[in-house]
């Protein structure tokens, strides 16, 4: 129990961020028309690729002098996350581009 309280205190800012972000996330998209569900899901999906930062930190501080299993898996983590980010944003843009076209 004490350990959990210590953890809460150590990460109190982050936990505050989480608590408030949950409401923010709900509030920000709660009035979305159903037409935009798919692009929004796809865009949110691309944002969840923010794990890419974790991959960069991981590989950034690992020993690059030899090809260990750790390094290789870390590289894969970055590649996967990049697929998520780049693919996600490009696909979303392609979808939204079509909505724009018909306004002409």
């Amino acid at each position: 129990m004490e350990q959990i309280l210590v953890y809460f205190f150590t990460y109190k800012e982050a936990i505050f961020i989480i608590a408030l972000s949950v409401f923010l996330g709900i509030e920000v998209i709660s009035h979305v028309p159903s037409v935009l569900h798919t692009p929004l899901m796809s865009g949110a999906n691309a944002i969840s690729g923010v794990i890419i930062i974790g991959g960069i930190i991981l590989v950034g501080h690992s020993d690059a002098s030899k090809f260990s299993l750790e390094l290789i898996l870390g590289i894969f983590a970055i590649i996967f996350a990049t697929l998520n980010v780049v693919g996600g944003f490009v696909v979303t843009d392609r979808m939204l581009e079509m909505f724009k076209k018909k306004k002409k």
Partner: protein, 480 residues
Amino acid sequence: MDQVIGNLYGIDFTLGGTLLELSYLLAALFFVIGLKLLSHPETARKGNIYAAGGMFLAIVTTLMFHKNAQGGGIAPANIFIILGALGVGSVIGWIMALRIKMTAMPQMVSFYNATGGAASALVALLEFPNADMNNLGSVLVTILGLVIGSIAFSGSMVAYGKLDGKVGDIFSGMMKYINIFLLLVIVAISVFIMTSGQTPEQLNWAIYLLLAVSLVYGVMFVMPIGGADMPVVISLLNSLTGIAATMAGFIYNNQAMILGGILVGAAGTILTILMCNAMNRSLLNVIIGAFGGGGASSGKDQVGDMKEITMSDASILLSYSKSVVIVPGYGLAVAQAQHACHELDVILSGKGVNVRYAIHPVAGRMPGHMNVLLAEADVPYNQLFEMDSINPDMPNTDVVMVIGANDVVNPAAITDPGSPIAGMPIINAHQAKNIIVMKRGRGKGYAGIENELFFDAKTRLLFGDAKNTLQTLVSEIKSL
């Protein structure tokens, strides 16, 4: 950049470190503003670019300024490797995103979600050896990152396979119990890891076992859920990927990851609920109910036959109508018939027929998917009507043309309380004066249930590939 510019709680902080945190704040704001703009049609594209910009900023500043606990920056050799990995991922991701057909969009999103989940699981797996076993909180976030990331990965891959038609629905009553058992195993291993008092090295086997069980659980979780519910599942898995990224953010105490992840987690959850509402089903019902997977089936036998119509009869019927409503479904998308469909609507409009499209909220494979497909074919926005705004007008409609849609016009949703789709709002095609249904064959719809509309006395069927049928119909009408 390594210049010390201040001191907080007895710890010096550098200019670079401060700029990094500042850039994370900016990135987080870009994510929030991006999501906000994404939820309005006029600003959606800008929102996507804002979010992408936030991500780009966070990546660049992390590469430039990130320091480990010992204050060491990222070495040039490592930067080289990272840039290589970023390059490979970007090129593959970009090419895939540009090549994918709009009809296959849902499985593409699912695939990208899988890669995000895999990345989270890998990061957690690789950080486990560095976990401080005396700090239960930090062990817990690592375990959660691993478990949630793995489930999101394997679950999304199954969803991808199902949408792509590579994986069928497998359902058995046993699966519910197997899944509960697997969840208990996951909890048990996690508790063991946290309380055993052993070093991460000694626990290596346990963490790999946890990875394996979580992967299996992801497969088993999605496997029994019917294809028609995949959009809901993808949205749910999407929010899981966000939560996994948040957990990984805790490992590094990285605000951009924590905020970006939880934002997606919350937005994904609310989007999941919105989609469930559009189908008038609860989330629990989707997960446990196994829609279309052999659950409760309507016992009603169909009386009568499906009656076909000839091309020339159909073309005369359409040409001399005042009002025609087209109900497009996934069959239209599969046949790539959206352009042919637009051609038909142009030629009918030219003859003075009032042509409108009725779009069911879950037409296609995802909410809003059909709007994307019709927009691709240049169908004007003002011809697209949502279900609720066109339904009152159905009794005055001369011809409803159902193209490759099935469950969204099935009157059983209203009339048969025992039907698996009971309560789902539908487009009231059965109230129109005439109904023409274009279908590939006599099979059932995606939810696997019989559709009494097809046997209605007012209904006539045109069998065949939607694109060919539409093209033939267009040339018939031209020759009238």
